[in-house]
């Protein structure tokens, strides 16, 4: 059993790696395909350790995302808080599902997350209407099983 402190450290570390993967410069065509690593990480921790992860983690990670790529502070913070809240509420139901169904649920969560960001983008006057922005939901759902396996390894559990 790991302590909460160790858990927090691991969560912070994985979130940092996910953030780096999110802002790493990539060619334009690859960039549209890049899954939202940080959202996946927040989802994983919210589902698997709702006590240590969860809404506060979502808020903090979202704020960092805002600093890197948000038109207005608080945008990703709100979207990630909502997604993390849903994941924490439903964590027992999601955790017991097989991998494929988990991927589908993650896909739904990512679409919801992107919709919130899309809506706030529009309301704050920075509309980005390219259909490419929805593409990462698909790649995120595809990458969920291996990502979850890697994260569960970092948690100290056998995958």
């Amino acid at each position: 059993m790991v302590t909460v402190g160790q858990m927090r450290f691991r969560i912070t570390l994985t979130a940092l790696v996910a953030l780096i993967l999110t802002v790493l410069p990539l060619p334009v065509w690859l960039d549209a395909l890049r899954p939202a690593f940080l959202v996946l990480t927040v989802l994983y921790w919210s589902i698997n350790t709702p006590r240590a992860g969860g809404i506060g983690l979502g808020f903090a990670c979202g704020l960092m995302l805002d600093v890197f790529q948000g038109p207005v502070l608080g945008e990703h913070a709100l979207a990630l808080s909502i997604v993390a809240y849903i994941a924490v509420r439903e964590h027992q139901r999601i955790r017991s599902k097989p991998a494929f169904q988990q991927s589908l649920l993650v896909f739904a969560a990512l679409v919801f997350y992107e919709f919130v960001v899309f809506a706030i983008d529009g309301w704050t006057g920075h509309p980005v209407t390219s259909p490419l922005r929805w593409l990462h939901c698909l790649t995120g759902a595809i990458i969920w099983p291996p990502a979850a396996a890697i994260l569960s390894y970092s948690e100290g559990r056998p995958a």
Binding site: L19, V23, G54, V72, E75, S81, S130
Partner: protein, 392 residues
């Protein structure tokens, strides 16, 4: 140490309230932050602090490309270095030849404009900055550069590369700054067509390499290959820097406006360095002032007006003052009339506005130049070699 007795051991609801309560608190906090950032701009200091916290991550993210470039440069062969040196030397010789005439031309231009002495160049100071990160994802086109407030960079500063205008700074952190590119769909740059002097607004098209000119009437005199220069309006960019070249003009009989596209002249994809420029305050060609930003620039800067009239031919050298005080979309509308103002001349048709080009920048200037016959030569903006009467 076990989890017993720690926060993790307690039931889920135990720490900081139920998930629902915590969610409400965080969501409310996020909404408040958004409101403050969007409406009131109270959060600039907070953003500044967060940006400084983010800087190490940005550096780490950028380090592999930087290391690769360094490695490649350090293993470059002697021949390729020598060839590059040769090329640069030839280039420098060409530039020196151009610069030789520059002083004489600047002096002559000053005399033509009725100024007593030649002005110093408008750019006072340059600072090269390295590009840390390029964000061309989605429809957002931003750069991150490695200079920030500690180098004196300010919000709304013009950024150029060695060929043309790139954009302006939007968020300034202590050691880094974000640059919005002119190709970003949220960015508009006031431009003037070099050939005719017609002013308009160029809006980013969002594809990384082109601009759209949405406010030109269908009968505006614009062709493929026309060079667009900054017009100096709007209080951010100084006058006369190259921006883009018109690549395609489409006129539709049922559309009142022409659809014009222009390809930017800068090469953001191959640049590793950009230039931050400080402009001499009080210079006629300089943007309004360094303090002009946000609402100030939007409502027109009063500091711009005292500069308006150089000694003699009042309206002619600075015909743009009337427009300068207007809001950004207004210059576009104001730029539209010239062809129509010039139309009453005998030769109608799309080419007619050409001879009116010297005054064509502003209807008022056209009238003034035309009304008292032989009163004064046309404004000094006219290139000396441009024919005043078009060939029949």
């Amino acid at each position: 140490m076990t989890a017993f007795g720690t926060a993790a051991g307690r039931p889920l609801q135990g720490r900081g309230g139920s998930p629902g309560f915590r969610f409400t608190v965080y969501a409310a906090l996020a909404v408040v932050i958004m409101y403050l950032d969007q409406r009131a701009h109270y959060l600039e200091p907070a953003r500044y602090a967060l940006q400084s916290a983010a800087y190490p991550i940005q550096l780490a993210v950028n380090s592999p490309p930087t290391a690769w470039r360094w490695l490649r440069e350090s293993f470059q062969s002697r021949e390729s270095l020598r060839a590059e040196n040769e090329r640069l030397r030839a280039h420098q010789r060409d530039l020196e030849l151009l610069a030789m005439r520059y002083a004489a031309l600047a002096h002559e231009n000053g005399e033509l404009r009725g100024l007593r002495e030649a002005l110093p160049p408008v750019a006072e100071r340059w600072l090269p900055a390295e590009i840390i990160n390029i964000q061309l994802s989605g429809l957002r086109q931003r750069l991150l550069i490695d200079r920030g407030a500690s180098n004196g960079v300010f919000k709304g500063q013009a950024v150029l590369d060695d060929r043309a205008l790139i954009g302006q700074t939007t968020h300034v952190g202590p050691w880094s700054a974000e640059v919005i590119l002119i190709t970003d769909p949220e960015h508009a740059v006031p431009v003037r067509i070099e050939r005719t002097g017609l002013r308009t607004i160029a809006v980013g098209a969002g594809d990384g390499s082109s601009l759209a000119l949405p406010y030109l009437p269908a009968n505006a005199d614009v062709r493929g290959g026309d060079l667009l220069l900054t017009s100096g309006l709007g209080g951010v960019f100084p006058e006369g820097y190259p921006v883009a070249r018109v690549s395609e003009v489409h006129r539709d009989a049922v559309q009142p406006l022409a659809q014009v596209r222009a390809a930017v002249l800068s090469h953001i994809d191959s640049d590793t360095e950009v230039m931050l420029v400080w402009f001499r305050e009080g210079h006629p060609a300089a943007p309004a002032s360094t303090a002009a930003s946000g609402a100030d620039a939007r409502s027109g800067n009063p500091a711009m007006q005292p500069l308006a009239a150089p000694p003699r031919p009042a309206a002619a050298p600075r015909p743009d003052t009337a427009v300068a005080a207007a809001s950004p979309p207004a210059p576009a509308r104001a730029a539209a009339p010239p062809p129509r103002a010039a139309a009453p001349k005998p030769r109608a048709g799309p080419q007619a506005p050409v001879p009116a080009a010297p005054g064509g920048e502003n209807p008022a200037a056209v009238i003034e130049a035309a009304a008292p016959p032989g009163d004064s030569p046309p404004p000094a903006d006219t290139p000396a070699d441009q024919p005043q009467v078009p060939p029949r």
